[in-house]
Amino acid sequence: MILAAPPAHPGFLSPTGVEVAFLLVGLVTLGAAVVSVTTKQLVHAALWLVVALGGLAVEYLLLTAEFIAWVQVLIYVGSVVVLLLFGLMLTRAPIGRSPDADSGNRPVALAVAAAAAAALVWVVWDAFRKSWIDLEGPAQGSTGVTGEILFRHWVLPFEALSVLLLAALVGAIVLSRKKPEGERD
């Protein structure tokens, strides 16, 4: 008798180790994101954002996209959050609880977000409930693979992006430069 081939679509009741890890880290990420958008303490929101973005980096690692995970840690956790903290500091955000962190349209926002979540999750679940990601074999996002595709197939967008980054840098400097007295923008 031949051994039965493993089914192409294992059920949800027998999760693999990767799936369990993905689920747990996903719950932490989602919880951190929810706290980050609901907390009344502005600085804590930025710190919870670090947890959410770091959790996403772990999710990338679990999906074998190794290079993107480290880019995520470097750029998001390393610089974007620091930039946001500097922004909070420079706009004199209050330390401690600020009761007016949420605007008046909070119920409407909650309704819109809940409706969008219900619709999106329903559609996505219905469409991809039978799809299975095969994570076996060589890693698909290792630094070697990513470097090769980036500089073999995506060179032109890459260079265009570097020009855009330079333009953004110059724009940010021009916008935040202090104007001399008497000159107004």
């Binding site: 990767v18 994101a33 929810v34 980050s36 958008v37 929101a45 930025a46 954002l49 973005l53 996403l56 999710e59 990338y60 999906l63 074998t64 996209a65 993107i68 880019v71 995520q72 998001y76 610089s79 974007v80 930039l83 946001l84 420079l90 706009t91 007016d100 949420d102 605007s103 349209n105 926002a109 909650l110 819109v112 977000a113 809940a114 969008a116 979540a117 999106l120 999750v121 991809f128 409930r129 799809s131 990601i133 994570l135 698909q140 996002g141 693979v145 990513t146 980036l150 197939h153 995506w154 890459f158 992006l161 855009l164 980054l165 953004a168 840098l169 724009g171 940010a172 916008l175 935040s176």
Partner: protein, 120 residues
């Protein structure tokens, strides 16, 4: 791994970011929520790239580009917020109502003429 896990997680994260954008008052917190939405999209791109085993790895390349554009966006956004804070003394998005239409102020003929001039 089931594709449904990353896809559902990305959808939920996107909606959390959507709530933050709509409900927050401070402009910097709005920018944080925008970052959450962008990250949800990135997770989707990576998951579908790994699922499709794309030879060009378009999903991962696009994720890297999105991350770079998000960095540029946050830099420009914070510069604008800081400029608004310096000029107005506040970074609350619902207090910046200069361009809002208020129903009670009738439009004066002068401003109409100015608008026509600007449009011309």
């Amino acid at each position: 791994m089931h594709l449904a896990y990353p896809a559902v997680l990305a959808a939920l994260l996107f909606c959390v970011g959507l709530y933050g954008v709509l409900a927050r008052r401070n402009a910097i917190l709005v920018l944080m929520s925008v970052e959450l939405m962008l990250n949800a999209v990135n997770l989707n791109l990576v998951a579908f790239d790994v699922w499709l085993r794309d030879a060009l790895h378009a999903g991962q390349a696009l994720t890297l580009f999105t991350i770079a554009i998000a960095a540029a966006e946050i830099g420009i956004g914070l510069a604008i917020v800081l400029m608004v804070y310096r000029n107005r003394g506040t970074a609350d998005v619902d207090r910046l109502r200069d361009t809002a239409e208020s129903p009670e102020t009738p439009e004066s003929p002068e401003s109409t003429a100015e608008k026509a001039e600007a449009a011309a």
